[in-house]
Structure formats: structure tokens, C-alpha cells
Symmetry: C2
Subunit: 212 residues, 2 copies
């Protein structure tokens, strides 16, 4: 036993290619509309290799969700920590999360599209990640919550709204780029994160919009 790289070296890419192709296909056609043969062909892999590495189609989906959520949670834990003001932390978090979404756009789309579905086996997974997310973000918010504020927002609502807001560009992109492609492409990811942060923290105010 060389003790250094015991297993991973011998599996160079097949498993990874399956995962990559799966994310791409699930995001584009949907999980249910993607057949394992189509996936095997896209990954340039024998059909049986999918279940050899992942066990089942559903387990493959679970892994995709896990990869996305764990990365998202890492971002939250990193940016929401520390002793800065909540607004500062939220601004940091929004910028990091938007960049994370952009870098893992297809993972995000698979996750969002699967959010409403009620397969118990998968809902359990999603709920576990949601629990950690709400806890991580909620803890920081409660720390600064001076109970004088009249109407407070439940943290599950808070997390859902913020996540949806950050994801909106990617969720609507396939539609909106057919509506006004110029508007979407001329805006950088940094600008987009800035818009999300500003609206979420200060509201849409007087900025509104232009460029019909």
C-alpha cells in the first residue's frame, strides 16, 4: 500500500464524466426526461457503468444535489461568520453565492427544478441541507435582532427569498435570453451581484430600471 493515493488514481475520469454529463443533461432536459442511455452516450461510457458507480439513477441525482448544497453551505458558513455587521456579511454572502451559482449554474438548475418534487427519499436529503442552511444564516441574523423591530421575518422565509433572488437570473436565463439577449449578456456577474445586494438590503428605491 503506497498509502498516498490508494484508489482515486486508478479511476481517472469515467465516474467524473458521468457526473458532468448528468448535470448538463438533467439541467437541460430535466431529470425525468433524461434516459440513462442518452447519458451514457454523452459521457462516452457503457450504460452499465452508471449503476456501477452510482448504484441507481436516483442516487446519481442525490449526489448532484449533495455536491451543490455542500458548496452552497460552505459559502454561507464562510461569509456569514465573523463579527461584522449583518448587512456587511449579507453583502459578502450575496457576492460569493452569486459567483458560486454562476460557476455551478447547471448544478443550481437541477437543484431548483427538483425542489418542489415530493419523492420522500430525495426530500429528506433536501430538508437536511435546508436545515443546516437556515441554522447557519438564521443564527447570524438573530444575533443582531434587537427585538424593538416590529415585524420580524421567519428565517425559513428569509433564506428562501434570498436564495431565490440570487438564483433568479440563472433560473430565468433560458427564457429571458430569448426575450432580450442583449440585456442579459451585457451585465457582468459582479454587477448582477451588486444589484441583488442593493435591492435586498436597501430596496429597489428610486433606481427602478431602463433599457426597454
Amino acid at each position: 500500500m503506497a498509502a498516498n493515493k490508494k484508489k482515486k488514481q486508478t479511476t481517472p475520469d469515467s465516474r467524473e464524466r458521468i457526473l458532468q454529463s448528468a448535470v448538463r443533461l438533467f439541467a437541460g432536459h430535466g431529470y425525468g426526461n433524461t434516459g440513462l442511455r442518452e447519458l451514457a452516450a454523452a459521457a462516452d461510457v457503457n450504460l452499465a457503468m452508471i449503476n456501477y458507480f452510482f448504484g441507481s439513477k436516483k442516487a446519481l441525482l442525490k449526489e448532484i444535489l449533495d455536491v451543490f448544497f455542500s458548496g452552497y453551505l460552505d459559502v454561507a458558513r464562510k461569509e456569514m461568520a465573523g463579527r461584522d455587521a449583518v448587512s456587511v456579511k449579507l453583502d459578502r454572502f450575496i457576492h460569493s453565492a452569486v459567483n458560486y451559482f454562476a460557476a455551478n449554474r447547471e448544478y443550481l438548475l437541477v437543484t431548483i427544478a427538483e425542489l418542489p418534487h415530493d419523492d420522500p427519499e430525495i426530500t429528506e436529503h433536501k430538508a437536511e441541507w435546508g436545515r443546516q442552511m437556515v441554522e447557519t444564516v438564521g443564527k447570524q441574523l438573530r444575533a443582531e435582532s434587537n427585538d424593538t423591530g416590529s415585524q420580524n421575518i421567519p428565517s425559513v422565509i428569509f433564506c428562501s427569498m434570498l436564495t431565490s433572488m440570487m438564483a433568479s437570473k440563472f433560473l430565468f436565463m433560458p427564457v429571458m435570453e430569448q426575450v432580450q439577449p442583449e440585456q442579459l449578456e451585457e451585465i457582468s456577474m459582479e454587477e448582477y451581484a451588486g444589484i441583488v445586494s442593493r435591492i435586498f438590503l436597501q430596496g429597489v428605491g428610486d433606481i427602478i430600471c431602463d433599457k426597454g
Copy 2:
């Protein structure tokens, strides 16, 4: 020809039952994971009736999207019209749209879950509705856009963000009600609409949240 009810009376419910069951099943299991036999059983209808009334499974999905979008567009046209200030119209729109989403939750979920998919035949449909939506909302916003405002928001981004924000509760509900069921159920739809409106117009400000 009695000229009063020429056709609709003789078709009491079969078509409607299929549509209702389809929305429920598509929202819960996903479009791709729902078989037509399962749907026929849920609607208590013979399998062949589905294609008899709708032509194909895909056409059934298109009808669901059309029903949702046309209603959503009606809300936008109604509430964004008039000579009031944009902030007033937006507040009205948000309250009406949230209520519309709540009343047609499953339609909303089907639509959102299908948003990222790239079936050209369906994307075309979605884009046509998106075009009208962006036009309707964007026109009102440009009317009050005093170009002194430094950084303006593209209307496609604006629409996407607002829609995502309003939909967030329903999109995350299946997950979040397993995280903290109490928080979700104790908030009324009117309160939720108020939160969305306040955050979108004024930002999260000092309210933040409570209730771990």
C-alpha cells in the same frame, strides 16, 4: 344551435379532471416522472382520453403553462396600469401576484420547474409570455425612470428577480415545511405579501428576522 352553451355543457368534467390531476402530479413528481397511465388513473379517465383532449403529453404541459402565464399576465396588466406612483403599483402588483400564486400554487410549481429546460417547442412558449411580461412591467418602470439615477436595472432582470422573490415561499415550501413547519404555517398570505413588498421596495433594512 341554442347559441347559449353550444359545446361546453356536454363536456362536464373529464377534460377538466385531466387538467387538474396533471397539474397536481406534474407539480409533485415532475413532468418527466409522471406517466400518462398514472395520470389517467388519478383523473379517473381512460388512458386514451388524454390524447383525445390534448393531443399529446407535451401539449398538455403547454396548456398548463399557458393557463398559468395568462393569469399572471392579467394580474400584471391590471395592477401595473394607472397613474399612481410606481412604488404604489408595485405594492399592489406584489399583493395580487402573491395571492394568485397561492391560489394556483401547483401551476406555479410546474412552470418554475420547467423554466430551465431547453425543449425548443416549449421554450418558445415560455419566451412569448416572458416577452409580454417584460413589456408590461418594463413600460411602467421606464415611465418614471428619471435618468439621473446612476445605475438602472435591465427590465428582464427586474422581472425575473421580482417573480422569483414572490414565488420563493411556494418553491421552497416542500423543503422548508420539513425544516420548520411552524414558521411557514403561522404566517398568512397577506403577511407574506407584505414582507415581499417591503423587502423589494425598501430592503431588508433593520427588520432582519427572529424565531430560531
